[in-house]
Symmetry: none
Subunit: 141 residues, 4 copies
């Protein structure tokens, strides 16, 4: 009646933040990076020098959005473009249907997510996807 789920450690969360900051630095794009657990609660965060204040909240909302439905935030961007009547799903919630949030998957399950904000939608997503890959796919020990 009990199952086991993968859970990110602080060490893993930090490794994802480090990877995102390193990637963003090489792109010359100052961003805010948030890593959340499978319930969307904050595990690790860093705002790079020069990242916009707005990104502090948006990065966290992108990460939350991923864990709320198990999909990259881009999935919502495309859904709402195709079916605008569904936008009501985001009202009063933290749902952020903008690219830049990516799942951290372990053993086929979403163990958490990373949200990136500060660059263009494409830059944010690229950084998030590459940062998530540092942990994603690793088997739980």
């Amino acid at each position: 009646m009990i199952r086991r789920v993968p859970e990110l450690t602080a060490e893993a969360a930090r490794a994802v933040v480090d990877a995102a900051v390193d990637r963003a630095g090489r792109m010359g794009v100052p961003v805010a990076v948030a890593v959340v657990d499978r319930a969307g609660e904050l595990l690790a965060f860093l705002r790079m020098d020069g990242a916009p204040l707005l990104s502090v909240g948006v990065a966290q909302d992108k990460a939350w959005t991923v864990t709320a439905f198990g999909r990259p935030t881009r999935w919502w961007t495309e859904l709402f473009a195709a079916q605008p009547e569904l936008r009501a799903l985001s009202a009063g919630r933290r749902l952020m249907p903008v690219p830049g949030g990516w799942p951290i998957e372990v053993d086929g399950a979403v163990a958490g997510a990373v949200g990136v904000s500060g660059g263009s939608a494409e830059q944010d997503e690229q950084i998030a996807r590459e940062a998530a890959a540092v942990v994603s796919g690793r088997g739980a020990s």
Copy 2:
């Protein structure tokens, strides 16, 4: 690990409000004017006789919006027109994508912002831009 950034004094904030009120008065447009610090927190405010009640909050939100991303509010007007799917960025935030908010820049950094509301979008922006110029560009002492 520490850097120094320019900060507006109460005297500077007040000079911007005065300039905005003077300009609006000559245009015959009663407005509300808000000046915020670089974190978007209120420094100075004045509502002219006859300005709409709605403008009390909108002027403050315009100023906040500028400091949240470092751009005039018109930048958001144009972004959201070009990419409507990004409007979600403003949900649950004070993001006000309407012209009338302008940065106050010192030494190339955004030290604060002024938000104006009560006239047309073009009038509000003209007043804000001219008022910001009273302080913008001045070197920090």
Copy 3:
């Protein structure tokens, strides 16, 4: 009309988080640590393995509280004990009158703050105070 104030870099914020995590680890107390800028906005955050979920928000609120009034959170604990009628100041705000928030001071000014939550009030404060000392007192470059 402009003055210059010290601002924490991401590097400084991270050094404070590292110091807090290191100290908490040696005490055997899993905590959440938040570092904010002088306006109370999040710069860096880490939740240690085993830290309570409640601490995610409380650590951030403690840090915010410090920058909102420039005093360690303990100052509020003692004020509210002495003058219970002032507790209304915290209503509807993030004011967290519990020890564990400590200012990061540079050149005699509050440049930011660290908030720690997860241990006892005394443990949280000791960790925060020692972590802040890693940066406090350094002159701005």
Copy 4:
């Protein structure tokens, strides 16, 4: 079926802010000052250099509280001390039962209020009371 009520002009609101800032400056206490109209909506505001961030909101809430019931905020301090069960009146509202908010009365009616925050409760109230006196008691023209 219509009556006339006194209304503060922007000029009057500004005169009250000026008087408060002048008085606080001579006391050496940096404060935030808010003047609101009879409905509690913001008319004029100034944050002095060195005033705490917390005071930005508290000054406005004190002014609002005065117009909400037509009494100095101290009236609420004393009421809640005598009848703690009435504190529920403030829940979820901006009611700020701390000295420092004072009515601006014209022709026997509350035409607005001034809220001051940043010093001790006694200092805030003294500044507010003296600032209100600049306009209070003047007949409407």
